[in-house]
């Protein structure tokens, strides 16, 4: 189900609008606001910087947004620029992003370049007066994050970071359910992301190694933390409404000893001031555990990535199984029903309940580009809507800031093998402890 359909149904349920209080960033992209914005026949004119794999994925999504038009493309790697131009032949092409930012026909800019370039490009884009969307962690260093945050506070332009979980109906509904007390008090969080792949891309000639495999080198990437953990840590800060202040952990290159500089294995504990923890693990040489974000409550567990929850105590009775036993043993007795539908079993002792009435499978987390239906289209669409209305989505930048700071604190803790405490200099008023 699309986010729009989800919001539409929410609008029709009594108290539906109140539910939006738990996810205030969706208030700027309701169907009503869209019809207002689109009534004038306005079109968001989008320029894209970085037309690599994720950039091209966005192009496919943007082409589905009726009120958006891609007017400009920029990449300094001709192969990728050409590939993107083939998808949008009418768009202007640039090799220097500054020229694209000068283009008065561009209303909004989507930046899909390596992490090391995010801060500069975002700052330049905002000061060029463009609405800006950047993929996905904020920046490579905490200072850069702070600079972006400060610029955002000064700017009247809309700024988004692509943390698509905030726009995925399955997550949105789960946030609301947790907020309404479904699983009781949240007592801890466990997140992990496991893959079994080298995280490399083929390189046509050796001098392109650092450019194409930018994820593996510290000058351009903060590794698993910003590329994977950022999404999951953000879920934890949203669910608790709080920011952890301490982190400890270990990171190493365990298997892919191929000259890369970033860890291929990380294991960390984040601690909130009230004593709750987030346990975080990521490893890319074993994928058995897949990707999960488990919110542990006193009454139950929400597994956000699968869109299912479990109760500590569940009253599942096994109607037909009992009958079968009776028939085999020649006994007649009343069979208890489960009453209102029970949900299919995935675990031996806990019955999963689907967040979206019906769980339609889940994202395995194996794709490096993006899965379909994961909120990526919805967030791009919301950004295009902001390009028309000028309305900033609440909390999106703040949450991206918190998540990125947590990732970078984690890297620092692993690099220096010590407990890292959130420095005062990087605290922002949004953070609650």
């Amino acid at each position: 189900m699309s986010l729009r359909q989800f919001l539409k149904e929410l609008g029709c349920i009594a108290g539906g609008t109140a539910l939006l209080a738990a996810t205030p960033w969706l208030k700027s992209c309701t169907p009503e606001k869209l019809s207002e914005a689109a009534a004038g026949g306005g079109v968001a004119r989008i320029g894209l910087i970085g037309t690599g794999s994720r950039g091209q994925y966005h192009i496919h999504n943007l082409l589905k947004v009726p009120f958006a038009r891609i007017v400009a493309l920029c990449d300094d790697y001709p192969v990728n620029l050409e590939a993107a131009a083939a998808l949008v032949p009418d768009a202007k092409r640039y090799t220097d992003y500054r020229r694209l930012l000068e283009d008065p026909e561009v209303d909004g800019v989507i930046i899909a370049t390596p992490l090391g370039l995010h801060a500069q490009m975002t700052l330049d884009s905002l000061s060029a007066g463009k609405h800006t969307f950047c993929e996905k962690a904020m920046a490579l260093t905490m200072d850069e994050c702070k600079a972006v945050y400060d610029a955002y506070r000064q700017s009247d332009r809309a700024l988004y970071y692509c943390m698509q979980r905030m726009y995925d109906p399955k997550y949105v509904k789960a946030f609301q359910m947790i907020g309404s007390g479904l699983i009781g008090d949240v007592v801890g969080m466990r997140c992990h992301w496991f893959r079994n792949a080298d995280w490399r891309r083929p390189v046509p000639s050796p001098e392109l190694e650092r450019r194409i495999n930018w994820r593996l080198y510290r000058e351009s990437s903060a590794g698993l933390m910003t590329e994977l953990a950022s999404h999951q840590l953000e879920v934890c800060t949203i669910v608790t409404g709080k920011m952890p202040t301490q982190v400890a952990g270990f990171g190493d290159i365990v298997y892919w000893k191929d000259g890369r500089e970033v860890y291929d294995s990380v294991s960390l504990t984040y601690r909130f001031e009230d004593g709750r923890n987030i346990t975080y693990e990521s490893l890319i040489s074993n994928k058995f555990n897949g990707m999960e974000e488990q919110i542990l409550g006193k009454l139950g567990t929400m597994d956000l990535s699968k869109g299912v929850y479990y109760f500590e105590e569940d009253d599942t009775t096994y109607g037909v199984r009992r009958l079968l036993d009776q028939l085999k043993t020649g006994v007649f007795a009343a069979v208890p029903t489960a009453g209102p539908s029970w949900r299919p079993e995935l675990r031996e002792s806990h019955v999963p309940h689907a967040v979206m009435e019906k769980s339609t499978g889940w994202v395995s987390g194996e794709s490096m580009i993006g899965a379909s239906n994961d909120g990526s289209l919805d967030i791009v669409e919301a950004f295009c809507q902001s390009c028309l209305t000028g309305e900033q989505a609440e909390n999106v930048v703040e949450e991206a800031y918190c998540a990125t700071i947590l990732c970078l604190m984690g890297n620092l803790a692993m690099d220096e093998k010590r407990v890292v405490t959130l420095p005062d200099a990087y605290k922002i008023p949004y953070m609650k402890f």
Binding site: T317, V320, V331, F332, V335, S341, W342, V351
Partner: protein, 269 residues
């Protein structure tokens, strides 16, 4: 472990047992008695295929289903459903009228329902279709018909624990006896004896609440309540159990009067 469909046959009792752990959002489980293995198996396989076919047609969370395609076009005026779906929509509309709007498959129109045009086209007026309260009953109706065709007179079909079709009787008793307990208090509410009948249960459970929406107001039913409906037609049982959950004041008496062949029981704590 429990992921894929499975079945077993116990020759000494001519007892066939089949399970599909996950179809139409829940579990389908059945016991067929008295028929040779081959016949039971062939019927069971047809049921599995049919449940999957209906799922692929009616699942509004599956973007490729017919219902999703209609829902996606809901803003663009009239849409043309397949004959089968149109027939289902007509049945649902009929029940909507007969239940005075308590049962309504349209969502997002705040109780306005839908319009069926002369040529079999449908206008959803921006709303969407949700067959969640219909599909299981419809499927059990088909099961009942196919059992009759196959000449199997003793069977117990459990769809998600909440929709049960019981034909004939327990081999060691005179009925299929089902115990309904209150999901909140654990108290035994009733023992229901089924012979050639269907039972549909609807209600809130500690672990699954606020899932039934009053189509007229958009409010969820939050009462600590359970409803059982006992009747010959599995679809009617399914639909009335939802309607009776929602019914307020005089409406429950109205339902009981208007559907006098059905036994509607409602328990509140």
């Amino acid at each position: 472990m429990s992921g894929s469909p499975s079945h077993a046959f116990y020759p000494d009792r001519a007892l066939f047992h089949g399970v599909v752990p996950h179809v139409m959002g829940t579990k389908l489980e059945a016991l067929l008695l008295g028929a040779p293995e081959r016949e039971s198996l062939s019927l069971w396989e047809r049921w599995c295929a049919e449940a999957q076919r209906l799922d692929a047609m009616l699942d509004r969370f599956d973007a490729s289903s017919e219902v999703s395609r209609l829902n996606a076009a809901s803003d663009s005026g009239e849409i043309l459903p397949s004959r089968e779906l149109l027939a289902m929509i007509r049945v649902c509309e009929d029940f909507r009228v007969r239940t005075r709007g308590l049962f309504d498959i349209t969502r997002g129109t705040c109780g306005e329902g839908l319009q069926i045009g002369a040529g079999g086209s449908v206008s959803l007026n921006g709303g969407s279709l949700d067959f969640g309260g219909f599909a299981k009953g419809y499927f059990l109706q088909e099961c009942k018909r196919m059992l009759a065709e196959a000449g199997i007179g003793t069977a117990y079909v459990d769809f998600g624990g909440s929709s049960i079709l019981a034909l004939g009787h327990h081999p060691f008793g005179e009925s299929w006896r089902i115990r309904v307990t209150h999901p909140f208090s654990g108290r035994v509410l009733q023992d229901v004896d089924l012979v050639d009948q269907s039972l549909s249960t609807s209600g809130n459970r500690p672990s699954y609440r606020d899932h039934i929406v009053d189509p007229r107001t958009g409010r969820t039913v939050s009462a600590l309540r359970i409803v059982t409906v006992l009747t010959a037609d599995p679809l009617e049982a399914e639909i009335l159990s939802t309607a009776a959950m929602i019914a307020e004041g005089e409406e429950l008496a109205f339902l009981k009067k208007n559907f006098e062949l059905s036994e509607i029981n409602r328990f509140d704590v």
